[in-house]
């Protein structure tokens, strides 16, 4: 059985530039197994670039980055086998059903699951059974996310990357999603969630990292029954992130 290095996500002093403009400037971040880390920051702080580097879309100029011990820059396919990724807008194939979409994405992940397993994952992701064989044309964002989450559940990968997962979701859908995320964490998955939504992050995250100018400026861990002092975080986030980004 494969041993997953812990933390599954490990970034050390990462630097990355677009042309001459530095985007990540000494970023250091660890996401342990069975935990959720929310990465917050203003526009241009480097959140999406961090995800792109983890996915192997961008190569670092310096520092180290590892997903389960694999450098996604040098072996992206091997790294991608260890992680699932949910973009901000989960766009799937409208002319395929939920089960067919999941089946296809699993095939692209190099995995094969029978219909019963896929249906079980869709049910676990909270998608009602009437929707399983319906084409995705009429699905809401929340329903599409559930299909993508079902794929992540079936893949049982040690790392889950989320890009603004709750933007555009109504409160009930957000609550459903967060519950699902906690279930994923309980399986031992390391979850890195890029978000603007401090409240949602405070609900589920074990740690919240604030990104400023390409590096983690503040990092706080959940503590006690109230987990986070959201008011204090909000004030710090407003000062540290949005205002500077503006």
């Amino acid at each position: 059985m494969q041993t997953i290095p812990d933390p599954p996500i490990s970034i050390q002093s990462l630097t990355l530039s677009y042309g001459r403009a530095p985007v990540l400037d000494g970023l250091t971040l660890q996401v342990p197994a069975g935990s959720i880390t929310a990465l917050l920051g203003g526009n241009g702080a480097g959140k999406s670039t961090t995800l792109a580097a983890l996915l192997g879309f961008e190569r670092a100029d310096g520092g180290t980055i590892a997903v389960c011990g694999i450098d996604p820059g040098s072996d992206p396919d091997a790294a991608r086998r260890q992680m699932a990724y949910l973009p901000e807008n989960v766009a799937l194939y409208d002319h395929l059903s939920a089960i067919e979409n999941a089946d296809y994405l699993l095939a692209l992940s190099g995995e094969r699951h029978d219909r019963a397993a896929i249906a079980g994952a869709l049910a676990a992701a909270g998608l009602q059974d009437q929707a399983w064989d319906r084409r995705l044309g009429g699905f809401s964002k929340g329903m599409r996310q559930k299909v993508a989450i079902a794929v992540a559940l079936l893949r049982a990968v040690p790392v889950l990357l989320l890009d603004e997962p709750t933007s555009g979701l109504d409160p009930r859908a957000t609550a459903d999603f967060n519950a699902l995320l906690l279930a994923v964490r309980a399986r031992g998955t390391a979850v890195l969630m890029v978000t603007h939504d401090l409240l949602s992050a405070a609900d589920v995250a074990d740690r919240i990292a604030f990104l400023e100018r390409g590096r983690v400026a503040h990092e706080v861990a959940a503590d006690g029954p109230d987990r986070f002092d959201v008011r204090a975080l909000h004030a710090r986030f407003q000062i540290g992130g949005e205002r500077r980004a503006a």
């Binding site: 992206p76 396919d77 973009p87 993508a148």
Partner: protein, 423 residues
Amino acid sequence: MSLYVHELRLLLRQRLSRFAILLLAILTIAALAAGMAAVARQRASIAAIPAAQAEDIWAVADYVVRTRDSGSAAYYSFHPTWDPPAPLAFAALGMRDVSPTILRVRALGLEAQIYDGDAFNPELALPGRFDFAFVLVFLAPLFVIALFHDLVSSEREAGRARTLMALPRGGQALWRRRTAIRFALLWLSLAFPFAIAAAVEGVGAAAIVAVLALIAAYLLFWIGAAAAVGRLRWGSVANAATLAGAWLLLVLIVPTLANVAIDRAVPVREGAEIALAQREAVNRAWDIPREATMRRFYAAHPEWAGSAPLGTAFNYKWYLAFHQNGDAEVAPAVAVYRAGLMRREAAARALGWALPSVGVQAALTRLARTDLKAQLEYQDRIRAFHAALRRFYYGYLFTDRPFDRSDFDRAPRYERFAQASDG
């Protein structure tokens, strides 16, 4: 289910893709059927020749036996020649559409008979008929554009590109699989009906394989063009417009302009002008003293110089001699004309290396033996047959031997000369 089956399902669920592939298959089948029908008509016409010829010769013989005059026999007897279609001709009708495939000749001046109908018809010559070559060269690129212009850009525009790229088997391998599936479907839409039609027509395996390879190569060229445009990361509409422009340029405009340039660089008189020159030479001969005509003829054909002198009355020796003198008079023009045509053909073939549409068309018509070379070879066979006809009739005429009904059966038959093209 393998990834290829997944990709196939994904593609065939899209209405546009289904429609495009089905339409290409239908157009291919229609073009093949049209080509086979055209070739079948030509074969039927050729098959009907012996009966019609026998009837015709019988009627001529009824008249000739009254005088037993070999000159009358030569003058009134038409002898059919034909250019049987090669087995692959159905796929690329080429010049068989614009030049005669059956020509009835008499032992008179030949060049006027050959070039009588050789007038350039731009309407027929440019786009060609609706045959398999037309579908492949002109239409297939449009289907490649339809299926490939948004191969990557559609995923980007739909917001799926990152999701797909983030999967272990969703990177470049995904685009390669999708390219392979689309290529295979387009190739099968063209190749499968073609292979069946070719088998029915009795085309040899080597020719079938060559055409199948040609189809693949031409599709791959256009797929490469679509991939090159795709690398610019423009939107799907811009990709489609760019590729449509490339199609217009590479398939229609540049070949047409190149054709005009070749025609200007290698000026060639029309064949009909040779026919006219030969006729004028023959007509002038009526006003030239007979002795001068015969002197010239005997100088060129001393084997008949010992023939009895002409009287004062009309004599077919003189008539046929000035016809042959007319051929000799235009022979240099014929040689120049043929050389010019071959230089144009060579230039067009050279162009084919730079312009795939021209190259594929040239290769198909060569394989199908429907190109200029095949047409000139047919003319060569006619000339050889006509020379034999002259020798046959001159053997009676210049030795003053009577010509009987049974002599008609001794006349040369074209079958012996046609064999060269029957393969």
